[in-house]
Amino acid sequence: IIGGSEAPENTIPWQVLLSIHGQRAGGMVIADRWIMTAAHVLVNENDKVPNEAVRVYTGLTKVDTLLRSPVYVSSIHVHPEYNNPNLMDFNNDIALIKLQDAITFKGSIMPICLPAEDATYTTGIMGMVSGFGLTETDNRRILTNKLKYVQLPVVEQETCSDSITLARRTRDKVPGLSNNMFCAGFPEGGRDSCQGDSGGPFALNDGSRFFAGGIVSWGVDCGQQGTYGVYTRVSNYLDWINKTMQEN
């Protein structure tokens, strides 16, 4: 998380830390046996990582204490239309992890709600992104072992698309934007999600509850002026989520 703050305990209880082959990723608890995350953190060149390779940590905000209590994976369900062998197409970047044992919820562990079917992502509405990904101090990217969060506004889809087009002038192999994605961030930069936050929640608040509006997916650099973070639009996948959970 770039430009954010440390999250006090029990404030983002749905936050999950995934450790896959030594790589950090984020996730969020959506039910007592289900974790939602980004597909790209569970797929390595079109191959789903084995269950044993995925460590799931829940409940605390400090990585060094989290590591003592992984929960075990029962099965991994990547969206069937996710196809991103070269990390150039993040469309349908969503996956579900089923846990072997049910989690008992408490102050430090609580599921985040799923969006309503008619949920809208109004431009400018603030969402809260969190994760154990890279952060920045004194213009230097550093690793953090503390959960951080940052409030980011939803960016108009066209604005985001323009920023990606602009980025393609100076960079090679910039992925494309689809309607299954939305962008969030500040045009002036300085606050953003970053590597290691992928799969984590972009939480929106409907006034009384937080719901999972988006999943940290990708972006051009982190926190730079004129670039935005790109998030999977969860409301487009409610049917698949419910179907996958019911069938499994």
Binding site: A7, P8, I12, M110, I112, Y149, A203, F210
Partner: protein
């Protein structure tokens, strides 16, 4: 009934002399033995007889015998001047046998060719009843009534008498025997007419177990007694009443015993008189009623049906428990209960008890718990309330759902549902919000 012989008896037939209707040969000695079943006699009728006529049937003759008794010796022909022709009158044998002997000499007269005889016989039933009384002083064949039947006879007796084992003489019958109807009338021989002497009659009243007999003697009671200081003594005449399990009682005198409650289903009455003295006899009506079973009246927390003032043999009672209670017998639960009043006046099963039912422990609730609101031990009408571990879980269906232990032994909610409650996770509401006072 007459036992029939193995083969069909000969009841009629025909006998003819040899070579009939041709002349019979000389030097004959031929005999026919006819027999019919006992009880019949033989009637022999000649249809033709033409035997050499001679004085005293000296030369040729047909002799008819019953055993050794000659019933007739015949020869000649119809209207012959000599000989003895039987004519058309039948010959009747005294018994069931008859023999015919046909004898001829060596000569036959040349003028007249005698053809012999032809006769028919048939069995005729003997009317034994019309036979005269034997002269040996043994008395008539039947002392009362003689009934002639084919081949035999039967003796019968006038009303009130019975045939002795000799099948011919009659004696006054005892109106005793076995009485197994639920009610009846008994009386001494000849009652109320002049009684016979030397009576020994037994009356057995035997009704089904479960019934008891009451004897009700009529007022007209007279059995000769000998008066003593202690009262009438039943020395020579008596009516002995025997009830199983009790000492027999002898009754006599002129005072009717009236009603005797025996409490038994079997009573034996032995009436005895001797050759001397006179007892006018007695009569009684007996009735029966079912034995009664004791009944305690009620079962706690249950109901006994039907409700009767008294419970008698073969009556059934049923016990049902009140809602929320179960039938228990000998520490075991039973589905239903009925018991029958037995013939010995005891119920075949003792009454059960009604114990309050138990719904068992309420199912535990994952991520929640259960609290007893009232009652205890999970018994009928106990109330429990489920709750979830708030604020992380909430009860599906709303708060304050109470379950009661119902009569069907299920915990049911106040909405009458049996579905087990569920704690649903609460989402998106952290217990602690990130402070955002800074602007």
């Amino acid at each position: 009934c007459i036992q029939l012989p193995d083969s069909e008896p000969v009841m009629l037939g025909e006998i003819q002399s040899p070579q009939y209707p041709q002349p019979y040969p000389p030097n004959l000695q031929r005999q026919w033995d006819i027999s019919v079943p006992e009880g019949y006699q033989i009637q022999l009728t000649f249809t033709h007889l033409d035997i050499e006529a001679s004085e005293g049937c000296h030369y040729d003759a047909l002799t008819v015998l019953y055993d050794d008794k000659v019933l007739g010796k015949f020869c000649g022909y119809e209207n012959s001047e000599v000989g003895h022709h039987p004519g058309t009158q039948p010959i009747l044998s005294p018994g069931s046998r008859l023999s015919l002997i046909f004898q001829t000499d060596e000569n036959n007269p040349e003028r007249h060719q005698n053809v012999g005889f032809s006769a028919q016989y048939q069995a005729i039933d003997i009317d034994e009843c019309s036979a005269p009384e034997p002269a040996d002083g043994s008395g008539p064949l039947c002392s009362h009534i003689c009934l002639n039947i084919l081949g035999s006879y039967l003796c019968a007796c006038h009303h009130g008498y019975q045939l002795r084992s000799d099948q011919r003489t009659c004696v006054l019958s005892c109106p005793g025997g076995i009485f197994d109807e639920p009610e009846g009338h008994l009386f001494s021989p000849g009652y109320p007419d002049t009684p016979p002497r030397a009576v020994s009659c037994q009356y057995v009243i035997s009704v089904d177990p479960g019934f008891v007999v009451n004897l009700n003697f009529t007022d007209n009671f007279h059995i000769e007694s000998v008066d003593t200081e202690e009262g009438p003594d039943c020395v020579y005449h008596w009516l002995q009443v025997t009830i199983p399990g009790k000492e027999p009682t002898k009754l006599c005198g002129r005072k009717s015993p009236g009603l005797i409650v025996t409490n038994s289903n079997t009573i034996t009455l032995d009436y005895h008189t001797d050759h001397i003295g006179l007892s006018n006899g007695w009569s009684l009506d007996y009735t029966t009623h079912r034995v009664m079973c004791p009944f305690s009246g009620s079962v706690a927390n249950g109901r006994v049906t039907p409700t009767l003032t008294k419970y008698l043999y073969r009556d059934y009672i049923y016990v049902r428990c009140d809602p929320g209670y179960k039938l228990m017998m000998d520490g075991q639960e039973i589905k239903s209960f009925s018991t029958m009043c037995q013939s010995n006046g005891q119920w075949h099963l003792p009454l059960p008890e009604c114990h309050i039912i138990d719904c068992g422990e309420p199912k535990p609730l994952l991520n929640g718990g259960v609290t007893f609101l009232s009652g205890s031990q999970n018994q009928y009408r106990s109330l429990v309330q489920y709750h979830c571990n708030e604020p992380f879980y909430s009860l599906f269906g709303g708060e304050n759902v109470t379950f009661a232990c119902e009569a069907d032994r299920k915990w049911r909610s106040n909405h009458d549902i049996v579905v087990h409650p569920t704690c649903l996770p609460v989402c998106g509401q952290p217990t602690k919000l990130i402070p955002a006072y800074q602007r």
